[in-house]
Amino acid sequence: MTKAKTHPYIPNSVKEIKEEMMNEIGIKSIEELYSDVPEKFRLRKKLDLPEALSELELVKHIDKLLSKNKTFLDMPIFLGAGCWPHYVPAVVDYVIQRSELLTSYTPYQPEISQGMLQALFEYQSMICELTEMEVANCSMYDWASALGEAARMAARVTRRNEILIPKIIHPERKATLETYAEPAGIKVRTIDYEKETGQLNLGDLENKISDETAAVYIENPSYLGFIETQVDEIEKIAHKKNALFIVGIDPISLGVLRPPGEYGADIVIGEGQPLGNPMNYGGPLLGIFACRDDVRLIRQMPGRIIGMTRTVDGKQRGFCMVLQTREQHIRREKATSNICSNEALCAVAAAVYMAMLGPEGFRELGRHIMYKANYAMKRLNEIEGVKCPVLNSAHFKEFTVNFSSTGKTVKEIHGELLKMGIHGGKDVSREFPELGQTALYCVTEIHSKEDIERLVKSLTQILEG
């Protein structure tokens, strides 16, 4: 008996089993099963890939490579900008490793998938509580693609073809929006901001809004970390023109910040990654997507939605996917979106995270982050030549730091910092040239006072030197 290659992942790779199965099929070789593939296209060489590794070798190999990376656990890093460092409680990671959830497909067969369905329903429901909206889908890919989908949804609902967005927005989010909007014929126009505060320029909004405007979009906190306070005014301007009001959020802020459902948002989107998902070098993320309880809106929602219902005999509560006639597998080219696989397991992580925190946990975490971020701002602003924040508004966890008066560029300063074992924030001086040599810093619960003091001390040294 020959013991040819058998692989742990392929149980039928045993020669005798293969032969038995081939006998049943009535073939002599597996090659016969490829007899209909034209010979000229057959790959008659081995793929040029590395030799297979044993599990032990694999673990060592990956550890060696990944250990080259410097992480938030090795040095203070002050990056945010849409992917944020937050602590993930162990229970979250435990739940998403439960293999019945981890290794299941989209719950097409509800009777055998109640666990996933209920967890996703709970995710949707808790997102609704945080944002004060009534309906949420069970995820989009990320905030950026959620914005693209929201613009398209607003255009379908209003039958208009323009979206107004703030000038202060993440450039990648704006670029993604443009990618999604352009094929649908949706124009993207930016609204200026008040130079001193960063707040939306309401005059510019009034000037630009028209009967063509499908939606007005704002972010809170904004990309540059400050809190937009004119939300009621913006809502009135948008709704007066019968445009939808779309608000982008960081869910972590909603323990202390007024939720968008309370100031008239029609659609709420945002980045759910901070809710129990590691940064993972930027993905997977979790696109939040919620709307009001309005059939006109719900019918145009993209993505999977889970609903609570009963069994056919009426005796028990149950959950299943709903309104599938909006979706690609039923409606094909007339679907509200092409989305199929989404970020379901990230949504489950978020559900566990929200259940862990509860109302008090969200408030405490929000306060904790504001304490630290505002302390860091205060300390940084004390450094000679540094202005922090650049924009005179209240800030949540991110803020701008300006180095223009130091005579050095952000790039130079961050280079020096890195040598000292500290990673600065995101250089935004090219994105917003009008703000001069400015960087966007992020401070959350994971940063210690010591991290902040080290940053202040190192910057002081660099700028004095």
Binding site: V37, I62, N69, I112, E178, G283, V312, P359
Partner: protein
């Protein structure tokens, strides 16, 4: 006998008690508290949250138990056979779940200086090269978050290409076969194209004459999966490619069915210009109940310049992110892709090597043909379209005859399978097969499990003829019985969140409030 857990578990909103929580924070230093006093006072009055969110209040213990119980009311690949056609429900190696929790990825940020992330950049760069080799394409972009996201990117690249050639006004149509996945027409429409459907011929393949009649100077491209959704290899692919290319269109490969041909034949060699890969299908990363997946695309040389930025590049010494791509279509998402998922794919390819990947294709196809052969003998089941050609990764049976003779439909068969502890095949797809059951065994299940599945379908057929009621009332061994999906989507009863449910309940029974 299979019995799924039945916990009668309340929703998280019905659990817990005021004052409980499952989360702790470090203590704030005195200096910080003194310097800031009350952080909420920093927020202008009208922007403060006045009413706390109505989230449940649970201890850590209750959270762990609740979600453990929910997981027990779910079914994954580790639970048993999962022959969901077109979804490639294969084993998800455990070691990859360990690897992905390395701090070198979990705790890294996409905007870190390139010098501090050389490890992950090397992994991503090499993975993109390996995927190019496997698909026979020139350049691979890892950014799309899922297969459909890859399709959207692919169709946007078609748009960019025709625009580059000054033909975007003219080339407004994308052709998809009638057997295509629903995402194909949906993606084409999202990218602004009109969808033209090409019918299948009597062998279940693209009807060449029909294709010729719909191809024109308006054609932007054709989206095709090969092997197709019937599990049949489109053997006329050379002619199909020629027809589309001669008309000036591009050929798009839907990679959902790539598992069958790994190391055997490459989409790029068959003439496909754009290829997407479903990492969560072919490369063994878990589906997670609906994501996260990853849907990288590979393209031929002339389309490389349109790929999203940044491109991951290597200058011989350092890996870096290249944004200098003036013809790029821009961005389709934030950052660079579902990196944690891609890392698992890197590990998967290393665990198998070239020979292992080819073995996967062979055994997946062997398993599918074994099932095809055996199921064809079962009363009431028929293999539509050319019975004599081998299937590849999957087979599609029709239960039309069973329905006619017993009243038992594909749906009932699916539900009865659940009763026996197996996941159901994909039902009612592709649309060109009546009472379709689409079965994809993958390479991951042993012959004993395949035999069990075959015997169960035989048993269900027998039950259908002898005691159809037994089948009709299925499932009864799952956590709950048949779910009322009509009620779930009816505007009057629809409950899409807990608060929507409460609102409707209070409307129905106002005196109970």
């Amino acid at each position: 006998m299979f019995r799924q857990a039945r916990w009668d578990e309340p929703t998280v909103f019905e659990l817990g008690s005021p004052g409980r929580k499952g989360y702790t924070l470090p203590k704030l230093e005195k200096e910080i508290v003194e310097a800031i006093e009350n952080p909420e006072k920093i927020i202008p009055e009208k922007m403060r949250r006045k009413n706390p969110p109505k989230l449940p209040e649970l201890s850590e213990v209750e959270v762990a138990r609740h979600f453990t119980r929910l997981s027990q009311m779910n079914y994954g690949v580790d639970s048993g056979f999962y022959p969901l056609g077109s979804c490639t429900m294969k084993y998800n190696p455990k070691v990859n779940e360990t690897i992905v929790r390395h701090k070198g990825i979990a705790w890294t940020h996409p905007y870190q200086d390139e010098s501090t992330v050389q490890g992950i950049l090397e992994i991503l760069y090499k993975l993109s090269r390996w995927l190019a080799e496997i698909t026979g394409t020139k350049e691979v972009c890892l950014q799309p978050s899922a297969g459909a996201h890859g399709e959207l990117l692919g169709t946007l690249i078609m748009r960019a290409y025709h625009k580059f050639n000054g033909e975007d006004e003219k080339r407004r149509e994308i052709i998809v076969p009638d057997s295509a996945h629903g995402t194909n027409p949906a993606s084409a429409a999202m990218a602004g194209f009109e969808v033209v459907v090409a019918p299948s011929d009597k062998n279940g393949c693209v009807d060449i004459e029909a294709l010729k009649s719909v191809v024109s100077e308006r054609t932007a491209g054709l989206m095709l999966t090969n092997p197709n959704t019937l599990g049949i290899f489109e053997k006329n692919i050379e002619e199909i490619a020629k027809i589309v290319h001669e008309a000036g269109g591009l050929l798009y490969y839907d990679g959902a069915n790539l598992n069958a041909i790994l190391g055997k034949v490459r989409p790029g060699d068959m003439g496909f210009d754009i290829v997407h890969v479903n990492i969560h299908k072919t490369f063994g990363t878990p589906h997670g109940g609906g994501g996260p997946g990853a849907g990288p695309i590979g393209v031929c040389e002339k389309l490389e310049k349109f790929l999203p930025v940044p491109r991951i590049a290597f200058d011989g010494k350092q890996y870096y992110l290249d944004y200098d791509k003036p013809y790029s279509i821009g961005k389709i998402r934030g950052f660079y892709g579902n990196i944690a998922v891609l890392l698992k794919a890197y590990a998967y390819i290393l665990s198998l090597g070239a020979e292992g990947l080819e073995e996967i294709a062979e055994v997946a196809v062997l398993n599918a043909n074994y099932i095809t052969k055996k199921l064809a003998k079962i009363r009431g089941f028929k293999l539509p379209f050319n019975e004599s050609v081998p299937r590849k990764h999957e087979c599609v049976f029709s239960a039309k005859q069973l329905k006619k003779e017993t009243g038992i439909q594909a749906l009932n068969i699916a539900k009865r399978l659940l009763d026996y502890g197996m996941h159901a095949p994909t039902m009612y797809f592709p649309l060109i097969v009546e009472e379709a059951l689409m079965i994809e065994p993958t390479e991951s299940f042993e012959k004993e499990e395949l035999d069990k599945f075959i015997n169960l379908l035989k048993k269900i057929s027998e039950e259908s003829y002898a005691h159809p009621n037994m089948v009709l009332k299925a499932p009864s061994n799952t956590s709950i019985g048949r779910v009322d999906e009509v009620r779930a989507s009816h505007p009057r009863t629809m409950a899409l969140s807990w608060r929507m449910h409460l609102k409707k309940q209070n409307r129905e029974k106002p005196n109970l409030q």
